[in-house]
């Protein structure tokens, strides 16, 4: 029992973290709240499905193409739409939400609604850890989650583009004096966030079927985890993912699954009441001294 909670809670948590990673990264780097995440998530899933099932490409290639294509779609959304409303937060939210809904409903309209839409596990099989059975796909989810966490840390601390994006996030004016173009950087941050969302989709979707509703859930989860974690803190995101992931499993085990959503919302409301900027979020403004 204990081991099963430990293992399943971890899997749940990593799924949440992965789901929120793209949304959170984009917001942290360029203040763009990309409410199209749910649409992008399913776009990646269906794209991988089409490449695999219709075009008959090898699975690895299908996945890679889906990730790249989703990144490009993110860049296009920025260039076509967001550039015009940049800085007007409500418009950004409405515009990206509309795009997300448009993507999801287009798939529904095109008939992507039956059980045949699923992605196979990367490897078949399962493993026993501490007496709890866990299949390889869930292990892959955990592995990808860990890898991305380390890779993103490296990217934002040691690479030219990562540091440049952080610079922009912290002070756009100063970044300009260093020759960094903020529109280009914001587009990149949306593209990278979209590609990360696609990575989450292709590793998580094999655990179930690809359904339109998943897209709407993803949006809610991404917002919940990001807000709880504090919108610009990766560590906060991880902690928030762990809290919510384990809260889900504990509730399901001890109170019954019908309570999951309530406990979930209670956790969010409690944290925000105590710390309005999220668990590890910082209030950004620092008083300028003369």
């Amino acid at each position: 029992m204990f081991a099963s909670i430990l293992v399943n809670g971890l899997v749940n948590s990593v799924i949440l973290i992965l789901t929120a990673l793209g949304f959170s990264l984009t917001f942290g780097l360029s203040r763009v709240a990309n409410f199209a995440v749910g649409g992008l998530y399913l776009f990646a899933g269906f794209a991988a499905w089409i490449f695999l099932r219709i075009l008959g490409l090898p699975y690895a290639v299908a996945i890679l193409l889906a990730i790249i294509l989703t990144g490009i779609l993110g860049a296009i959304i920025y260039q076509v739409l967001l550039v015009r409303v940049r800085g007007i937060e409500l418009s950004e939210v409405i515009a990206t939400f509309a795009v997300g809904v448009a993507i999801l409903e287009t798939f529904r309209w095109a008939g992507f609604v039956t059980y045949e839409f699923n992605l196979p596990s990367f490897f078949k099989g399962r493993l026993e850890i501490l007496g709890t059975v866990i299949d390889y796909q869930r292990l892959i989810v955990i592995g990808v989650g860990l890898f991305l966490a380390v890779a993103l840390w490296w990217f934002t601390h040691h690479t030219k583009i990562g540091l440049g994006l952080r610079g922009i996030a912290q002070d756009e004016h100063t970044a300009l004096t260093l020759g960094i173009e903020s529109d280009w950087a914001a587009m990149l941050s949306v593209a990278i966030g979209s590609a990360l969302t696609a990575v989450a989709a292709v590793v998580i979707l094999p655990l179930g079927i690809i359904s339109i509703n998943v897209g709407y859930e993803v949006l809610l989860l991404a917002i919940a985890v990001s807000v709880l974690g504090g919108l610009e803190s990766t560590v906060g995101l991880v902690i928030a993912g762990l809290i919510l992931g384990y809260a889900q499993v504990l509730t399901a085990n001890f109170l019954g699954p019908q309570w999951m959503l309530v406990v979930y919302l209670a956790a969010i409301v409690t944290v925000l009441a105590v710390r309005p900027s999220g668990l590890l979020g910082r209030f950004k403004e620092i008083e300028e001294r003369v």
Partner: protein, 250 residues
């Protein structure tokens, strides 16, 4: 005269109805050091913002090395070799001091010269910090900018400009808020940069320091240029004294 490196031609900026800079013109020869003085609110920072592309002019032209840059975005002017500091310091507050310099060292302008090895870049960043008076073997370079005292942040502003190896260096009241000893540690560095041929524009209230660096000065009052000439002469000017003494004791 040789070709000027910078030409400012009837540059004008109005915010709403209020004129901040009005029909200002001047030329700058390569290697010159120009001082800009004037009471608070006289348009000095706005003039810097116009030259660096942070503010769009209402009228007038800016030409750098013979090329009109009036409508060139700020980030592109950096690549041409124009670097500026901010009067109100603007470091990347959540990054360590030396990381604040890694970002300019990655920029297209100097990135290639500094080289691909990150160890190299760290070394250059440390050297720059040392030049502006950060204690090398202390923890100071590794502290996040938000934890540093104001005097350090002012010098970090300078180091960030120098990381770009600019041809035109614009310092907006760099010395204000620095202690005497901090000023004394930085002044020789700016003199050295001038000797090496970098063109300098220096907005400065501290006249003693300005005299050490600048070979020419212009005076602004209510957005207009009211005097131009040798720094000592300009200060002696009757109109200038009135403008200054009218608003504050300089």
């Amino acid at each position: 005269m040789a070709n000027p490196i910078l030409q400012v031609d009837h540059l004008t900026k109005r915010f709403g109805g209020i004129g901040a800079v009005y029909r200002i013109s001047f030329d700058l020869q390569p290697g010159e050091a120009l001082g800009i003085i004037g009471p608070n609110g006289s348009g000095k920072t706005t003039l810097v913002n116009l030259i660096t592309g942070f503010v769009k002019p209402t009228a007038g032209r800016v030409t750098f090395r013979g090329r009109e840059i009036t409508n060139l975005p700020a980030y592109a002017r950096v690549e041409l070799g124009i670097a500026r500091s901010f009067q109100m310091v603007r470091p990347f507050y959540n990054l360590p001091a030396f990381k604040n310099l890694i970002i300019p060292l990655f920029s297209p302008r100097v990135g290639k010269r500094v080289g691909g090895k990150s160890g190299n870049r760290d070394e250059v960043a440390m050297h720059l910090l040392e030049e502006v008076g950060f204690e090398r073997d202390s923890q100071v370079p590794y502290k996040v900018a938000s934890s540093l005292p104001h005097g350090y942040l002012k010098r970090l502003e300078l180091a960030r400009c120098l990381a770009l190896e600019p041809e035109l260096l614009i310092l907006d009241e760099l010395f204000s808020g620095m202690s005497m000893s901090e000023v004394a540690s930085v002044l020789p560095l700016i003199e050295k940069i001038r000797e090496q041929g970098t063109t300098i524009i220096m907005v400065e209230h501290r006249l003693r320091e300005l005299f050490r660096i600048a070979n020419r000065a212009i005076v602004l009052n209510f957005g207009e240029k009211i005097a131009e000439g040798k720094p000592e002469e300009v200060i002696a000017d009757e109109q200038v004294r009135k403008a200054y003494l009218g608003s504050e004791d300089a």
